[in-house]
């Protein structure tokens, strides 16, 4: 048995499955909390294996969003009336919940954004343009999502910085030695990497990468879009300077995300967007900016979305997350073994430590055809390049089919996946 799937020690908080004292995770109870699982698709109950794209939402998130629109429907921060007061309090409470979830030192270190993409663009813009100069280097890895590539390429084009890539090997792993060599070569001012790869499932050694970055005087940014749903994240233990994530992948609403930034660093950045709520005082003679977090949150935010995100975090806090993660890891292993056992299926991404996403290709069928056929079996997975084209190039494939897990998945889901993959095989060979 491969050790693939074991979460990173220290950040993952999960032990070996089935160890003494470990509570069983009641996945049936969790499933009942997710209304989308109650639907019939193509005549069958939905098998949802696309959580890496967007996770399903528990009922309490729907209820929280609904309550904002049906009752606490006021803009925040500025009004004295009751709906606005209530919305403001719930909004700021969500910030504190996320602070706790990430282990941030202060609530002002949590900036709400529209998603991981905006969080990373904010750093590229605010930190990049203020602190970097032509010739400075930015290190990314070969497994990044486009959201952690294109903003840096745009920055490079604008100000003349250079992108350095730590390539992945054939298992989809990065080499710490390679990263250290590149840092040693000098000039790298920022290291931006995915904590977990969305295309391959690889868990990167985030703590070690951040330590190396610091050692060589570079700032670190971890793209946590895929890590936050599967690993226990503690930004202080990781030692990262920035951490980006999306609510919609963490069982929360769409259109919300966050950027964590170490206070001193974040506080030194110029604003990202200009507008309401981010100012101290505006005049045509000169404008001054508000303190954190407002300075980086211009305009009316996604109020209902942020409050719904808070509800998702409450939901996660109500679970035994260690047990949930063990459950996910077992399922990951089960799916991994099941896929490998089907002749003509090749798994893409076979890192020692992985979670969440399982990519594969088939001799018989193109990933797009896999997707359509399994969809007709009621199995929702994703096919394509997963916004990680350099990964596809590296593996010399046009695309993969990807099954990805959430806390509501069970063995029956994986069995359905495997059965539908066998249908594909039959159909095309």
């Amino acid at each position: 048995m491969s050790t693939q799937g074991l979460p990173e020690a220290g950040t993952a908080g999960a032990g070996a499955p089935g160890r003494a004292g470990a509570k069983a995770f009641d996945v049936q109870r969790v499933r009942a909390d997710f209304p989308a699982l109650r639907q019939i698709v193509r005549g069958k109950p939905l098998i949802y294996l696309d959580s890496a794209a967007t996770a399903l939402k528990p009922q309490c998130v729907l209820d929280a969003v609904n309550q904002v629109y049906a009752r606490d429907c006021g803009n925040i921060h500025r009004a004295v009336h009751l709906p606005s007061q209530r919305a403001t309090q719930s909004f700021e409470a969500a910030r504190e919940k996320l602070q706790a979830f990430l282990g941030a030192a202060r609530p002002e270190e949590v900036i709400f954004t529209s998603g991981t993409t905006q969080s990373i663009n904010m750093v590229a813009h605010c930190f990049g343009r203020a602190r970097l100069k032509a010739g400075d280097k930015i290190l990314v890895t070969g497994l990044e999502h486009h959201s952690n590539i294109v903003p840096w390429q745009m920055l490079c084009q604008a100000i003349g910085t250079e992108l350095v890539v730590a390539e992945i090997d054939e298992r989809g792993e990065v080499s710490l030695q390679d990263i250290e060599d590149k840092l040693k070569a000098g000039g790298i001012k920022l290291v931006a990497f995915a904590h977990v790869s969305n295309a391959l499932g690889t868990i990167l050694p985030a703590r070690e990468i951040c330590a190396l970055a610091r050692e060589y005087g570079a700032v670190s940014l971890a793209d946590g879009a895929q890590a936050a749903p599967h690993l226990a994240v503690d930004v202080q233990a990781l030692g990262c300077d920035f951490y980006a994530l999306s609510a919609h992948k963490l069982y929360g609403p769409t259109g919300v995300g966050a950027l964590y930034g170490r206070f001193e660093l974040l506080d030194s950045l110029p604003p990202y967007q200009g507008g309401g709520d981010m100012i101290r005082s505006v005049s045509f003679a000169g404008t001054t900016y508000a303190a954190l977090p407002n300075r980086l949150e211009a305009g009316t935010p996604n109020i209902a979305g942020v409050i719904g995100f808070g509800a998702a975090l409450d939901y996660l806090a109500s679970l035994d997350l260690d047990a949930a993660r063990r459950h996910e890891q077992e399922l990951f292993r089960y799916a991994d073994e099941g896929l490998r056992a089907i002749d003509g299926v090749r798994r893409i991404g076979t890192a020692d430590k992985a979670c969440g996403a399982l990519s594969f290709v088939m001799d018989a069928a193109h990933p797009h055809d896999i997707g359509t056929v399994v969809d007709m079996e009621g199995v929702a997975l994703r096919t394509g390049h997963h916004c990680a084209q350099p990964v596809m190039t590296k593996f010399a494939i046009p695309a993969t089919a990807r099954a990805s897990l959430g806390i509501y998945n069970n063995r029956a889901d994986i069995d359905a996946l495997l059965a539908s993959v066998r249908v594909v095989k039959e159909m095309f060979s």
Binding site: H366, H368, D369, T372, T383, G384, H385, P398, M427, F428
Partner: protein, 149 residues
């Protein structure tokens, strides 16, 4: 449900996808275009020998799903020797059929009728039309990359 799938992946389509016809560039090609579907990674290049307003020869290369390979393959068979006006008339009906907007004109489409099942799969329409868009780009002689967006 599975019957819709059989409707989509008809024998003709599976056959063409496994053994695409005209999967090489014709000699003396004087027109060429590249097409890709950025969302799924399909890409292909179509080259044509155009004589006046007639497609004398045509071939393609590239990778993609069964639908897009079969669409490209059947397209090359269909348009070879035809005038651009005839080709336009065929594509118009083909396009509307796969979009679910028109009935099949059997006379016009011939073998292409097997693509009617695509109409039930809106996310696959692009696969069925990429080759055609690329071919038309080649005929127009523009340098742009064709996409299906």
């Amino acid at each position: 449900m599975m019957s819709e799938l059989r409707e989509l992946y008809q024998e003709v389509i599976l056959d063409h996808s496994k053994a695409p016809r005209n999967f090489k560039f014709p000699e003396g090609a004087n027109r060429s275009a590249q097409g890709d579907n950025p969302l799924c990674g399909d890409n292909l290049t179509v080259k044509i020998v155009l004589d006046g307003a007639r497609v004398v020869d045509i071939g393609f290369q590239g990778s993609g799903c069964a639908i897009s390979q079969a669409a490209a393959s059947t397209m090359t068979e269909m348009v070879k020797g035809k005038s651009t006006d005839e080709i336009n008339a065929i594509f118009e009906n083909y396009h509307d059929v796969v979009m679910g907007k028109a009935e099949i004109n059997e006379e016009l489409l011939g073998k292409l009728a097997v693509f009617a099942g695509v109409a039930e799969f809106p996310m696959r329409v692009k696969c069925a039309t990429l080759a055609w868009h690329t071919m038309q780009q080649a005929i127009r002689g523009t340098d742009e990359v064709a996409t299906t967006e």
